[in-house]
Structure formats: structure tokens, C-alpha cells
Amino acid sequence: MSSQQTPIVEMRNIHKRFGAVQALRGVDLELYPGEILGLVGDNAAGKSTLMKVLSGAYLPNEGDILLHGQPAHIANPEDSRRLGIEMVYQDFALCNNLDVAANVFLGREVVRWRLGSLRWMNKRTMEQRARTMLDRLRIDISSVRLRVENLSGGQRQAVAIGRAIAFDAKVIIMDEPTAALSVAAIDKVLDLISSLREHGASIIIISHRLEDIFRIGDRVAVLRQGRKVADRPVAGDIHEFREQVVAYMVGARDDYGSENDGENGAVRSPSPVNA
């Protein structure tokens, strides 16, 4: 990716503490238009925390977020959604008691009429659109009126992904999008992600499966103990790639060294518990 472009997302010096645990210690991350960025790291490296800061699920203790070069204020998930950022959470974040259509439209129900806070939903439109969305993504669910609790793990994941991409988001974050899937389904999801890029979306994928990132990613960023230790294009062959990334993940290599991070030098706890 050309670095002269303005990043669509720029996170600067993001810090996040959970009590005494320093989950993020000043992370910088850019995402460029039309790019697929892989975000990797060991457990508790801070990947999910960083992405939850971007999606508004967490407020950072320090740091700035810029969208299209402009400072953006993301105080809650509502803000980030309005700015065109969608996140597929690792646990899917679905309401099991609601049906598929209700989950797809949760938080942006189609309203027929409103009287103050009384808003009458247009269920039929929501069901039709949810059906169209499922068909477009070739998701195999017989009825959008099925409750999520009656779906298989793969179907739930499909609903979660479908919900995130159904509304033309500019930035899509996926936390372990292939974790609950069979091998055949993984192929489908990876193809889907590639096609989303063709439609103009920029995508960040958190994954333990380095082969997935190698296959569809343009660039990979590695986090370790709340710091970014590598940020480089995906290149070479898969074995070389895997070897390098793992070296960064376990701390054998570090592109950003110890020259920054002065403020936290003293409080380096051996391993943050929460991510």
C-alpha cells in the first residue's frame, strides 16, 4: 500500500488500563483505504482491546483516533457505527432470544412512524432486507424468523458478519472471523472478505490463523504485551512469513525497540492478564 495516501483510520499513542493492568501502552496503527490489515499477537497482547477502542466498546485512557485525517470522537459503539466502523466480535454479540432479522437490524430498526420515543417498527421490510442480505452472502439459513439460539455456530457467525457488512461500512473489524468455522466455511468467509475489499471497504482482521492473513492480507501488524512490535507488508512465502511473525509474537524480534515507551519503562509488568 502506498504510504503517501491519507489513512482512513489512524490510531495514535493509544493507552488503555484495566485497573493495574496496562493492556495498551501507546499503540500507533494506520489503516489505508481498500486495505486488509492483519492484526496478530499472542493471547493478552492487546489486539481485541485495541479494536474495541476503535469500535467504541472501550474508551482509551490516552491517545487519538483520526478518520480520513480528521480527529474523530468515538465515545461509544453508536458513534463508531455512525462513522461507518463495524466490528464483528469474537463472541458474535448476538441476542439469542431474538430472531435473525431482529439481530441484523438491532440498533438501527426500520421505523414506520414515530411519536416521541414510541417507534413503530416496519418488521416486514426488515425481514425482506435481512433475507436479501443472507441470499447475497449465500448464508444457509432457512428463515430470518429463526431465533439465533436455534442456529449452529457457523450460522451465528454468518449472521454476525452479515450484520456488520449489510450497511455499507467503510471500515470492518473482524475478531477471529474463522474461529468457529469448518474448513469449507473458512474458504467462503475469506473469499467474502476479499470481495468486501473490492467493494471499497477497508478491513482489519484479528486472527490466530496466520495462513488466513497470509492469503488475503496486505499488511500485518504484530502486538506484544500492549505494544506494536512489527508493521510490515505481507510478502515472501508462507513459511518465511509465519517464522517472522512468530518471532515478533514471542518477543525474539522487535522493530520498535525500547527507544520509545520511556514513560512506562518502570511499570513493565511481566504479562498483562486481560486483553
Binding site: N97, V111, R119, D140
Partner: protein, 336 residues
């Protein structure tokens, strides 16, 4: 995601899931209600008589309306222990408006509804903003409302003797004028009307959808960009408004606001909701179920009284049925 061989079984499973999603418990409750009717009718010739049935309907009106409000709150996986005394406080406020201040009756009714909604709103703020567990927040409101009702009324009943129309609103019978001999009090129709409105809110509006979503997965609802605190507060305020309506009906029925009454009503209301199949763990519940549950409690109380079962034993039976209803819910979930 499914191979060709499993596709058939999957779709059968899915179709069955569509059908039985929440019908079972309602069916069970309705069958129970019918069974009670049959048993009591056979046991006593006095049970299935027009006047007695009217008595049952009337007895259900207040508890039923309270239970409608509690349904919303329990569906969010919350609880409201304050409905009984908020009902009393609302009745007292209606009395203050109509009897003390001589204001028109519609304003008195409005005052009752607004008092209930305000109490519910305060509950909602305490729970959503101050993060006080619903059990504690509404327990506090229960005591506050009881105290306020006594303070405002001077611990004495407020009678509506100068305004007979207030009592007529609930106890008169519009339909009796249309169909002579069919003197069903308006309160019964007010209950049915309130139930229809409650059902529309729960199933057709965004507020109803978020009520279920909150009880199903509050964090997921928040991550979907829903302002969870505001909507939760709205649910408690709505529940409070139903308590206010219950207070107005209660006052009309007794032709007075009785400040010492009210504690204990919340338990009957919660029992009705639970018997009607609403899950205490949230995300699941229907208005029809609640109405059936409220009728089961009234029929049971009435039938046992007709059979001269002492009141103490009536309470034992009602309590046992609540436990059985929750157990049935647990069994149903386990089988799913």
C-alpha cells in the same frame, strides 16, 4: 455450511424451532387455567355463576395491570418490588388531585399515571446510571413509596365521595347499558385494553424490541449502538405507568385511596408474570401469558375460597404453583 445429507434434518429442526419458540409455556398455562375452571365448577355449584365470574374478572383487573408492567421489567432480566406501594402512592396522588384540590377527574387519572411513571423513571435511573441492582433499587422505592403515600395522605384514606364518576369509571358498566344484564364492569375492559396496548408495545415497537434485547444480551445490545441506559430507564418508567394505572383502578374500586394498602401486591404481580411463562433470566415473555397467569391466580384464590379452604392454605397453594411454573420453564429450556 450443511452437507446435502444433513440439510433435510436441519430444516426440520429449524421449522420445529420456529413453531415452538414460545408457544409451549403459554399453552401449558392456558390448559392449566381451563383445568382449574373445570375442577372448581365440578367441585362447587357456586363457582361457574355470572356474578362469581365477574368477581374473578374484577379481582384480576388490578393485579393484571400491575403484572403487565412487571412483564416488561422481568423480560429485561430485572425485577420490580415497588409496584405494589407505587400503586398505592399513585392512588393517593389521584385522591389529592380529585378530592383535596377538586381538579377534574381526567387530571386525577393522569396524576396517578404520571406518579407511577415518575417512580419507575427514578427506579430506572438508579438501576441504569447508578448501577444499583434492580432488587435493591426497587426495594428502596417500595419503602419510599409506602412512606410517601402515608405522609401525603396523613395516613388516612382519601375518599372520592364527592366525585361518584371516579368510581363509575372503573366499576360502572358501559357494556351493561348496551347489552342489558351483561353488567361487566369497565375495569375488566380497561385491563384488556391495557393488555392490548402492552402487547403492541412489546411486539411492534423499538422499545419492546430493546426490552427483549436487554434481557437477552445487554452487552451485545450496547455494542449494537443502542443507548442501553436510556432504554432501560424507559422500560422501568413504562412499568411504573402501569402501576399508576393499577393505582387508579384500585382507588376507583374501593372508592378511596387506602395508603396502608399495597405491600404484597408486587408478589402477586410477579407470580402472575412467572406463571405466564416469562423467564426470570430475561429475554423471554409474552403479554398473553401474563394475562393468563393473572387469571390463574384469581381463579385459584376465588375457587379455594368458595371451597372454604382457609386463606392460609390458599397462599401455600399459590406459592407451590409459582415454583412449579418456574420448574416447568427450566425443564422446557433443558429440552431445547
Amino acid at each position: 455450511m450443511t452437507t446435502d445429507t444433513t440439510e433435510l434434518t436441519t430444516s426440520v429442526r429449524e421449522r420445529r424451532a420456529l413453531f415452538r419458540s414460545d408457544a409451549t409455556q403459554k399453552l401449558l398455562a392456558f390448559a392449566g387455567l381451563i383445568a382449574l375452571f373445570v375442577v372448581f365448577s365440578l367441585a362447587s355449584p357456586n363457582f361457574f355463576k355470572f356474578d362469581n365470574i365477574i368477581g374473578i374478572l374484577l379481582a384480576t383487573a388490578v393485579n393484571g395491570v400491575l403484572a403487565l408492567g412487571v412483564t416488561f421489567i422481568i423480560v429485561t432480566a430485572g425485577i420490580d418490588l415497588s409496584v405494589g406501594t407505587v400503586m398505592t402512592l399513585s392512588a393517593v396522588m389521584s385522591g389529592v388531585f380529585v378530592t383535596f384540590w377538586g381538579l377534574p377527574i381526567p387530571l386525577g387519572i393522569l396524576a396517578g399515571l404520571a406518579t407511577g411513571a415518575l417512580a419507575g423513571f427514578v427506579n430506572g435511573i438508579a438501576i441504569s446510571k447508578m448501577k444499583i441492582p434492580p432488587f435493591i433499587a426497587t426495594l428502596g422505592m417500595m419503602m419510599m413509596a409506602k412512606g410517601l403515600a402515608l405522609v401525603i395522605s396523613g395516613a388516612k384514606p382519601i375518599y372520592f365521595n364527592d366525585t361518584p364518576a371516579f368510581r363509575q369509571m372503573a366499576m360502572g358498566s358501559l357494556i351493561g347499558r348496551v347489552i342489558p344484564g351483561f353488567e361487566v364492569p369497565n375495569a375488566v375492559f380497561i385491563l384488556f385494553g391495557a393488555a392490548i396496548i402492552a402487547n403492541l408495545i412489546l411486539t411492534k415497537t423499538v422499545l419492546g424490541r430493546y426490552t427483549v434485547a436487554l434481557g437477552s444480551n445487554e452487552e451485545a445490545t450496547r455494542l449494537s449502538g443502542v443507548n442501553v441506559d436510556a432504554w432501560k430507564t424507559a422500560v422501568y418508567a413504562l412499568g411504573g405507568a402501569f402501576s399508576g394505572l393499577g393505582g387508579v383502578l384500585m382507588a376507583a374500586r374501593l372508592n378511596s385511596a387506602q395508603p396502608a394498602l399495597g405491600a404484597g401486591y408486587e408478589l402477586d404481580a410477579i407470580a402472575a408474570v412467572v406463571i405466564g411463562g416469562t423467564s426470570l433470566s430475561g429475554g423471554e415473555g409474552t403479554i398473553l401469558g401474563t394475562v393468563i397467569g393473572a387469571f390463574i391466580i384469581s381463579v385459584l384464590t376465588n375457587g379455594l375460597r368458595i371451597l372454604s379452604v382457609p386463606q392460609e392454605w390458599q397462599m401455600v397453594v399459590t406459592g407451590a404453583i409459582v415454583i412449579l411454573a418456574v420448574y416447568a420453564d427450566i425443564i422446557r429450556r433443558r429440552n431445547q
